[in-house]
Amino acid sequence: MDVAYLIATVVKIVIILLVFSALAGFGTYFERKVLAFMQRRLGPMYVGPYGLLQIAADGIKLFTKEDIIPANVVKPIFKIAPVITAATAFMAAAAIPFMPSFTIGGYEVKPIVSDINVGLLYIFGVMGVGLYGPLLGGMASANKWSIISAARSAAVFISYEVVTGLSILAPVMMVGSLSLIDFNNWQIENGWIVMYQPLAFILFWIAAFAETGRTPFHLVANDHEIIDGFGTEYSGMRWGLFFIGEYANMFFISFVIPLIFLGGFGEGTFVDGLLFFGKMAFFFFFFLWTRAAWPDVRPDQLMWLCWKVLMPLAVINVVITGIVMM
């Protein structure tokens, strides 16, 4: 049993790592394509059919490019910072159930690495730790833009973690558990949480943009203001790791939102599974759509939005939920 458990866990970890690394690559492809279409152009077209092999080309380029480490940086920190970003993204995936459980040869497989009973908290905690990637990378870089970017990322992460936590609190109160599987099961019986908690859903969704650092909250690495922020001094695969981390995060969040609010994978039938991936795809697409459609906001607007709009709303939501539940 123990050995089987060990083997199963290792297999799950390997699968998640491989799949989501690849997905990150595809994510860039999708992004370029979507943006191109929205801007009435074609996007990558030359490498492979519809430019599909562009991913491979980019990958080869990143892997083979020289790993430049500037003279004044704090070397060990500079080196591990991208790893932190990527690693925390994948660590967060440990508590996400990607599929309903199924049976292979009499052995029940749960497509989740570890169903700990504080799953949600764990996910947000680890995602919060992802902050250290940009933060340490920026501080170690010996570059003004990088430092500003690090400061911005610290401010944004700390602030929006509050909103995330508070907005998720109301659904947690209703379900009475922090495990995503329990969330899924609860919604089978009672219907989607988004029906009970539309405000929490919207708040969480908005906060997700901040957590992943996507447009319109892309101030962490805003090209026109601070070049590439914490990534300015990076090159090659280290920069690539930041990229992978960001896209992996987007994917995971896109999994988490439907799991919490939109019924998840339901009872685990094939149709339900398809529907689940559809929801995930929509949210991922929505990230790209927003980037094409929206301008960036200023840091002070971002803070204003967080502390004066979203947080009070979230608190009110929690209070109302509490009163209604009583």
Binding site: I116, L121, G125, V129
Partner: protein, 187 residues
């Protein structure tokens, strides 16, 4: 077996990172090592069945406390080498070791003689988070509220201390207004 391995692994890592945190002269190393140590400590909590505590450890310590420190470091220009006078190492080490050994002697003494009695034995059938919730909002309700008030006070104090002129947004001001602002500050 797993427990022993994880305990010794985590212990080694935590001690190493904390040791780096207190001895290094490179502030970034200290920050990184401390953050790593904090996260690794949550590993102990998970092994000890205190899941909620572990999650809180990651969120609060790594996510908030150390991020704040990092923020502070950017303010204080200590992101590079920290120059410090070195006090007498022998005395400091002896004192620290003595204090630690004596503490363990005292803490271990009643445990050895078996006179600790469980006040709120945990019920196995309910999850850790739920147990904590029950105890926190019954027995520890008053301390909980006090802690809440304390956090509020600390927050207000922090804002008042650090946040002078928070209501002025430099990005919204024009160039000449900012210059005026700076001139006033110099006066």
């Amino acid at each position: 077996m797993f427990e022993a391995i994880s305990f010794y692994l985590f212990s080694f890592l935590v001690i190493a990172s904390f040791w780096v945190a207190v001895t290094t002269s490179q502030a970034l190393y200290a920050l990184t090592a401390l953050a790593a140590g904090m996260i690794l400590i949550s590993g102990f909590y998970f092994t000890l069945g205190a899941d909620f505590l572990g999650a809180i450890q990651i969120i609060v310590y790594s996510g908030a406390v150390l991020a704040l420190y990092a923020f502070g470091m950017m303010f204080f220009d200590t992101t590079r080498e920290v120059k410090e006078k070195k006090p007498n190492k022998a005395i400091v080490t002896t004192l620290a070791v003595l204090a630690a050994v004596l503490t363990v002697a005292i803490v271990a003494a009643p445990i050895v003689s078996q006179n600790i009695v469980a006040l709120y034995p945990s019920v196995e059938s309910v999850g850790n988070t739920q147990q904590i919730g029950v105890v926190l909002f019954t027995k520890y309700l008053v301390p909980f509220e006090v802690a809440a008030v304390m956090l509020l006070v600390a927050m207000i104090a922090g804002i008042v201390l650090a946040g002078k002129k928070m209501d002025i947004s430099l990005t919204k001001l024009s160039e000449s207004e900012i210059e005026k602002q700076n001139a006033e500050e110099l006066v």
